[in-house]
Symmetry: C2
Subunit: 167 residues, 2 copies
DNA sequence: TTGGAATGTCAACAACGCTGACATAAAATA
DNA sequence: TATTTTATGTCAGCGTTGTTGACATTCCAA
């Protein structure tokens, strides 16, 4: 590991631009792999990544509102609305008017929506599981630590929420 | 590390869907943080991520051809062409007809192009450096190992190329 | 009860993926 | 050598998914 791309623990106090650049390119190439499998499934259905993200987080927090989802996804409500509209029309998502506050719409996956979510997340978990196994248990902890440190603070809050619930 | 989101080394032999889901969401949130800083600079100039990627890899391999770039970026030549055209028009990239093979165009950054590349990569390095320091040296090794394991094999080849040259 | 703030929808525009058609240069072949 | 095939890059047009602007509905506060 001393030669090539690896680096020893000690040498990391001196982070060269070269080492940082490798980390940057690793993020780029890895993210493509990370999205490749779901992308294939989505394409068959005529959907894109935006649909995947919406379905993922509605499954994660059933009954969440459009506004909540907006904050998590970090897009405009207009952009999200287009995606939700098609998912609702296709019967994958149900939108219920709020009882306490009638302005709000609470979002739920239908049976069909859950089926798609399962297919997508199973594909992605398979990739993640394989990567974890290749890299080993020690690596996984480090992976998660660096990723968390790389998030914007607000996003880290959303992520921490997910951790609690996941216990 | 036993409570919250962390996991001990031993327990990783049993990868729950819950643990994998956390890894998936971590990738999603972290990638957004990873691109946030360059995105702000690009927006000022009227460019997008596609421009960033092109500029990055032209800087990495000066004189590379459009075809080479295509393989690395994993997009169609038509899509890349639009981006290159604007970069050339704006004087950030120079395109030289090949001497050996006149069909090829060899790509170089101009002074202005190098300046933009520096601004973008410096912003991204700053974020990466901060994340590395927060997570610690051990974590960085694991981070890189998992990312590399998550790439598609062909992409891993491109990444390994970068490693050799970088050594 | 009236005015402002919050929530969500509809319309139109920009960035950047995509396929198809094409020009030019090189290579293969008749 | 002349002709066909292959490779490289450009131009045109379309779809997804970001964006801002305008608006209807609902809630809340003055």
């Amino acid at each position: 590991m001393a030669e090539g791309g690896g680096q020893s623990s000690e040498s990391l106090l001196f982070l060269t631009d070269e080492q940082l650049r490798k980390g940057i390119e690793a993020m780029f190439f890895a993210y493509r792999g990370f999205t490749a499998d779901p992308d294939r499934i989505l394409e068959e259905q005529g959907y894109g990544r935006a649909h995947h993200r919406a379905v993922h987080f509605i499954n994660r927090w059933p009954g969440t509102t459009v506004n909540n989802l907006l904050a998590i996804l970090g897009v405009t409500k207009q952009s999200l609305n287009r995606v939700l509209r098609s998912l609702i029309e296709d019967g994958l998502v149900e939108s219920r008017v709020g009882t306490r506050d009638k302005r709000e719409r609470h979002l739920f996956l239908t049976e069909a929506g859950m089926a798609l979510e399962q297919a997508l997340s199973e594909a992605q978990r398979r990739r993640m599981r394989a990567a974890y196994r290749m890299a080993g248990p020690e690596a996984v902890t480090g992976f998660r630590q660096v990723l968390e440190a790389m998030m914007d603070p607000e996003m880290r809050r959303h992520f921490d929420d997910a951790k609690e619930t996941g216990g």
